[in-house]
Symmetry: C2
Subunit: 221 residues, 2 copies
């Protein structure tokens, strides 16, 4: 499903160049559940944003479903993201602040989904129930605990039943029990054929994966 070939990413801040990834090459097969680990600043979120078509590499090739996405326009990338990818951001503040948990989770369904409004609402409720938030549907993000906000972000990434889920520290704010519940959900989705890559710094979480990709200073070790 995923093939990265010699991916580099250099951030530019005015005159200064910050190299973040140096020639990263690996593949992820359809239906795999992989963990991505590495120390703070090693390039994990940068790698995930490239995998998620949210950012372009400085050089190298990214084949997603045999299609070279590094060649695509912004619009084409947006379509791929909407149809194929569910993304859980490291910073769960990317929930919409003035909207309820329910409306935040319904959001990905609004674009081009063939479901009726009733079906969209039911699906959003059902995925929020799955992450244990059925009593918080009407709350806005500021009326939720950190871990509850993180679970809304997770639910939002799952609601479209994407072929690929990319999760950046999805359990960073969750206690042990909630973390296990989330990883159990990921394992169920993976058993249904969904490909999943989880960035995590916790060994206990990485243990759920079939394989661990480790980054150090922007390179796969």
């Amino acid at each position: 499903l995923i093939s990265l070939e010699n991916i580099t990413k250099i951030y530019r801040m005015g005159e200064v160049e910050i190299p973040a990834l140096h020639g990263v090459t690996f593949h992820i097969d359809t239906g795999e559940l992989v963990a991505i680990m590495g120390s703070s600043g090693s390039g994990k979120s940068t790698l995930l944003s490239i995998l998620g078509c949210l950012d372009r590499p400085t050089s190298g090739r990214y084949l997603l479903d045999d299609q070279d996405v590094t060649m695509l326009s912004g619009d084409a990338l947006a379509r791929i993201r909407n149809r194929k990818i569910g993304f859980v951001f490291q910073n769960f503040n990317l929930l919409l602040a003035r909207t309820s948990a329910l409306e935040n989770v319904e959001l990905p369904l609004l674009y081009g989904s063939r479901l009726s409004n009733r079906e969209k609402r039911d699906r959003a409720v059902s995925v929020l129930r799955r992450v244990g938030l059925e009593e918080r549907l009407r709350h806005h993000p500021s009326q939720l605990s950190g871990g509850q906000q993180q679970r809304v972000a997770i639910a939002r990434a799952l609601v479209n039943r994407p072929a690929l889920i990319l999760a950046d520290e999805p359990t960073g704010n969750l206690d042990t029990k909630s973390s296990r519940e989330i990883m159990a959900i990921f394992k169920e989705l993976n058993a249904e054929g969904i490909t999943i890559a989880v960035v995590t710094h916790e060994e206990d979480i990485a243990r759920y994966a079939q394989r661990v990709i480790t980054l150090r200073d922007g390179e796969v070790v």
Copy 2:
């Protein structure tokens, strides 16, 4: 230093009441390092915001340095926060987005500090160095990794050398090595006499504390 007596907190959302803390009573002695644990939604951040004078309890008393802070005005609470308390928020997005790491960390020093501008800058640089970010001083939060942003938030809480540090999941986004470095800093500060309460869901982090306070459904167990 800290004495909580029968603290309750009920959030109100229109007609609905959400009880978050039910009669919490405990004390923290000056110079202690305590961990606060509990599952997602159990009331930890709510408790910490009351301890940090960022929010008022619905009922009960909070004595900080033998002063009943539940009786104080908003201005008086703000003065206490600035002088005595360093707060690391669970959501490290409360850094100012259009300001560099350095300026974010200098911020608490701007109010009523007797240091010269040069001394303020030096101290901010020194605490950023302590958390391993001396090569990221000019970066804005969006140009930093999640763990780097979290470390800026930690540095900002330390720069005023407060008597009390309250940290909400300070290592949630940090790898093992960075987490250990941060906890080593907290232990050093604690050895210097600073009282510290750390909310964490990780057993490894709680192990650094002398005592663990556990919350379940808004009560101390």
